[in-house]
Subunit: 327 residues, 6 copies
């Protein structure tokens, strides 16, 4: 049985702020706990939305928009229930890191988890077996974290169940980020996405920025998206705020460029710029000497630069760029 | 006597790539060295420019633009000499950190250094006593590093010697960044700037971006600035490329906003946005619970947001925002 | 097959001091071993007692009393056999830590272990499959470690097999600590207790103090308890030394108080003090500012304060207090 | 000039909670600060008391009693001024460590400090040059920290200026801890005590417990002592609460016992117990094998055990015990 | 399915240098990869040899000889194919450590690995399921690493399949190291050797030196051995270079001597020296005091000293010496 | 005044084993000490020899030979006094590291030290002001440590005082290592050598091996050298054991070869091999890819290879080789 206990009721009307409390015995606290903040806002019968942030601990648009939502959304504004977990991977979030410092795990490769596993596995199991089954629609926020940077997009997956896929795509369009991506996940083992979709739920994910920061602009995209999604789900009343969203596709592996040398990386194009097949998107200079020719990173297809490596230094094998194709 | 030895001549015509070699005995190399890359390009009599990057190791526009310069500038293009040290604080640069991992020192608070001091002090002493005296004009690149982000500007200091000040301001205008700042440094002890200016040289510094990254746009500003500066200094022939630069001032301490609580920071305005006195520029949310009111960070004057804290998490006492005033 | 080999015979008469030798290849010793000290004292036919300490590496009454026993007990004083493992979790003990620094594991959540698992799992497997089956009675010493502090008590579990339970309770009373606790373990998976009891043995455990230290008084409790237990088990001759022991019960989860805020903890009552339901047992002050109201930790039932958090700083989710009820 | 700036006025009537703000540029915050909490309570003309805690960061009676004081003392209760710095060595306090994690310094060996030194030196300099000169009487709280444990005592030093000594002794007696110690500091270089006494102020210090914890009883001693001291200094009205205090002396180096072997330490006497010259106060057992004779720690004089090593493991050269003599 | 993808074809004629690319998401690179260098040299139909180094990351003869081979062997010199992986455990090799810094695993105890396991397990799985099946003969280089030192030998295992054993022994003799060892592996679980032999391949392993270094002499043994082996396997043309090789046997556990005390180790005999049963091969002095008698390490059989502990300090349980018997 | 106190008399006849006790307050021991083992053997009037090891903590011939001497030399064998400090830099020795883990200092660059400095500076000051003045002759043992390896030599310096130089050279020849080196120290600031010679003493130093290990052969050189030196100094009676010693010179900076690239280093010659000017002594291969040409390390003069880098990996700027010239 999963050892996590909520300190608040998950199904009571009104607004409750509390924790998912996970006992965690360790050197610096023999009878300590991991305390994952949670807010539940409920008002009568209706659908349930589960909104999650900090699946990766260094991605900030989700936690900020969700903290703001916890502090501003009132039960009387909604019909149904909104379950908000702004820092789902609290240990990673507290460390400002992608992965949990407790077990080193990448949460988005740890689903469905185990009730008797590591701390990350226990959190995944609780979310997968307690929270997700309660939900009709799930929105999980991602950004690039400290080492990647993205054009702001919402995404939904190509699924075998075409009705479910259509519902997910509709929710993604409702979210209405500046860019929208229809994704075929090749290797989806262990992802939260996979778990939620496997339970037949409507699922939307995002990539809203990165470099370990968040801007007023990227946070506004998150806030607008939440609002739109709750309206779309018939939980919140009102009109959705919609503007044009560029539709992107990532047809195959040629979209992805990787570094073949470690060094200091000079980007020649920025996110959103047009790129043509074979164009040099970045040059990697030696980090320990001058006078050596740089290694070139070449685009494998034509499109727009959709993601890049954020830090100034890059290592052999690191992702260098993603060129997506406008549909 | 300073133990650093260059592996190339500093005064020979042509182009030479090498190192400033500093013996550094340590656990993992009893007779090891710190090797700071240097390139000298010289062609006959004429002025000398000293161009430096990575004074702070996590600021990338300088190192990238200077590595590119080392690989592209040919002796026959110039009159005089260009001394290029793209990663002046090599240990910090290699670690991707602001300060040196060897002695923890902030290089820009370690000048004029000591020939028998720590590694950082030895590097400072060598630069101050060997390289700077050779130079007529010095350009030192900065950006915000991993924890700050800036509007791109070049800057020169208000100096007692008004002729020197005018020469520095002229060089700053020649650099022609999108923004230009006339600065009064209150606490200038230990800075490279102070050392160079104290030797009567023309000195320009910059802040070109931050968040531990560099963009094609911010790198282009650095490259254009170098080119303009070398033309301005009569080292390179040709026409300067000039566009409008917004002139900024930071009159007093009210321009600076600091965090009075640790937590998750939500910016309500972005770099370049207009801000009025008393406006909330950011809200700091609790990082360990939901349902608590955020602490507000208020602007102390009207102007435009010129710098901010980059990471999503902020600590009590951290810098939160700089509101500069357009002149 | 478990790779641990004892360097002494486990079944020979006389006294033998040696090691349980566990091969452990690692960076700093390719062909190294973990060496767990063990002493076996035997004299003819009779029952076997297994005495263990440092299941958690920062709990000291057990190791001290058992080291003293190894140096003072003579074979001719006993009938049967005493197997003494004063530092069962040697890697944790050597590090002065609750958990093993090698694999991070909490030994008391790692039973029954695995012969091909991590270092902690291998030790658990060896103890469970080789030592415990040899024993008629097992005494495992615990204290609060560096982060908890306890009133000194011996404890036995409520078991399904009532005859076994009665034997355990009798052994606990023989131990005769100042306090005696009859415990219902809710979540007993992975505990040494569970393994030993599952093999049908008589089992006694203790909590004798904490805060990472041991006093002359708490060590004397351990020494008297060992002596009494060996007499009770017909291994040692003589009269038990018995005084009054306060009988305690921990009926349900309301006995346990947890911190809901991180900060500086001020206890208002001490171990052994009477507490009434709803009483403030501790106040948590901010650790980074003055002038904020503290958060209160309230008792959930009436009784005496039996355990507390030891360090001056406390984190959200940490155990704050245990209020047990006198029977 | 010392870079620390208070965020509150130090001389205004009423109660002000704020920070001593020390700019501290570092890898994880280029423009960060160390923020040391301070409260000033003032009411008209009268003497000034400076009350400090966490000179060593792992000593808790002082910070707790002073945080409580900041939250409970009202301006109208006093005449004059009380300056309270509950966590003087904030970086060490935040780390739960004796010494500062920033520069490794022991604050009580870093006075008078330097305005351009390390973080600890800057804090010392500010306290020595700004706060102490304002004070008539200074009370600095100490306890044993994580590695020592003490009988609770207040102490004053034997000074060359006998009038000052008498004033200090009177203040110590006013504090009225269970034990009172008249100390001759042999090596007083760098201590806060020395700095304050050198400025001619009345100074009292304490050792109130240790082992990295604080009890209701030891905190009550601190609170009573503060109250008594403020009454004694004519800042607070009312009657002092006084009971008997045992007077102790530590005549020479024979009072101190050190470990000559590393291992597991077994104390044979507890704090407050009588000890005679040559008595074994502790035995040190091997930490890696059984069956070896322990090394004995012998008292060098007769008296009562006044301090001891707290952790269960001890290293060669560690302090093992202090035997003080009742006067 | 194993996520590793080669960046070069494994079966194309000619010479190809590339990487085995293993996606590895982590804090410092969200979409990073482990890049294991590989070279494939092929020329028409013929046998395949798989040559591997740095199974343990601090053993250097293999990586050096194989890097040299990658740079010098030309396709036209061979018939068939040579697959060269000079740093099989790249993460450990890059760290200069025996085990992988990513998961702490000892690669030679991690076979056959898992396609969905840790980084080390994924590498093992790829090698076991993709590379080994392609090979007719496999040569895996070992040395003592940083903590052991060996006489230079090649080795083959005693196997149940006597025809396979004979083929392995023949290959070992072809390698022709100065010493040759016929080994019975008692505990062979998880070894690369076991995996390769289990697939029915001809397998040779080595121990060529140690102490974390390599000499011109030990490298020459590796290079000659490779050449001889490729000739023996009919991949390379030419005459094998053969000299006398001393045949050694390690009949039982008495060959191995372990340290029973931690301290400073003084060897009284060197590698290659004759040793008789009961002879003191090393003395262990106290590392923290003078004047104590050393503990003696005694040989358990007669023979020649074949391996020893390399560092000057030794810990209880560390391997101290191996005395092998000449056949 | 230096805070170090010896626990034994330094001038009493007979043999005394004890410690130099240096108080060292730190997080894990508030009143702890650094305990440096020392043995003094004295017998009536006569000269004093000071014998020291582990100036660098990872060099083992000295500590081993001196520990052996402490345990075997009897007062009645000598005339005068022998002061033995086998692990002078005890903190570094205990850590198995060149430099002290407490302050990071290289002891052999920290003389003459400071009585109020860091731990290393205090040790240096004590040795320089208390022990060296007592001595007539000083022998300080060095080897290559973990990162260098040397041909075994004793050395004496070219000094301004030619009589002192001659006495040192004579003592070096008495030591009679297989190689003897007459050295001109260019940068001798901070060395123990410089301090001792500055006090007019006879001084001999050595380099006897390296790679962080010691062999029976290299230890025998140390033991023979001590014996010879004590006979030469008229402290020990008997005949010196002398064999041929090769005389070496290191005329100028061309003897030293440094790495200009980081990578995997392949030595083509071994210690003691003849080398000619321009010969490739080592090749540096890429550590992260195959198929790249190695960088060559070329000898700058003809002679024999006298020292080399020990680990298999090398970094840009590391020492690669020393070619000394036979006289």
């Amino acid at each position: 049985m999963n050892p996590i206990m909520p300190t608040i009721p998950l199904d009571a009307d009104g607004i409750h702020h509390g924790f998912l409390k996970l006992p965690h015995s360790r050197n610096d606290s023999a009878w300590g706990s991991v305390m994952i903040p949670i807010t539940v806002i409920a008002n009568g019968a209706g659908p349930t939305a589960l909104l999650t942030g900090a699946n990766h601990g260094d991605e900030y648009e989700g936690p900020i928009a969700l903290q703001s939502l916890c502090a501003s959304l009132r039960p009387e504004q909604i019909t149904g229930r909104v379950i908000i977990v702004p820092m789902m991977n609290l240990p990673a979030f507290a460390a400002g890191a992608r992965c949990s410092p407790i077990d080193g795990a990448n949460m988005n490769r740890s689903f469905p988890g185990r009730p008797d596993g590591t701390v990350t596995q226990k959190i995944c199991d609780y979310i997968a077996t307690v929270l997700v089954p309660e939900a009709d629609i799930v929105l999980d926020f991602h950004s690039g974290g400290k080492t990647l940077d993205f054009l702001p997009f919402a995404a939904a997956h190509i699924l075998e169940d075409k009705a479910q896929e259509a519902a997910c795509m509709a929710a993604m369009q409702a979210f209405n980020a500046p860019f929208s991506v229809r994704m075929l996940e090749i290797d989806n083992v262990g992802m939260f996405d996979t778990e939620v979709e496997g339970q037949g739920k409507v699922f939307v994910t995002t990539e809203l920025g990165g470099a370990g920061t968040a801007t007023a602009r990227s946070i506004a995209i998150a806030k607008k998206g939440i609002c739109n999604l709750l309206i779309h789900a018939d939980i919140l009343a009102g009109e959705m705020e919609q503007s044009e969203s560029v539709q992107l596709d990532m047809p195959d592996a040629r979209c992805f460029v990787f570094a073949e040398r470690s060094g200091l990386v000079e980007y020649l194009v920025d996110l959103g710029d047009d790129v043509s097949d074979g164009q040099t998107i970045a040059r990697i200079w030696s980090a320990d000497r001058t006078g050596e020719a740089p290694m070139l990173c070449l685009a494998g297809c034509s499109g727009i630069l959709t993601a890049r490596h954020a830090p100034g230094l890059i290592k052999v094998g690191d992702f260098a760029g993603l060129v997506a194709v406008k549909i």
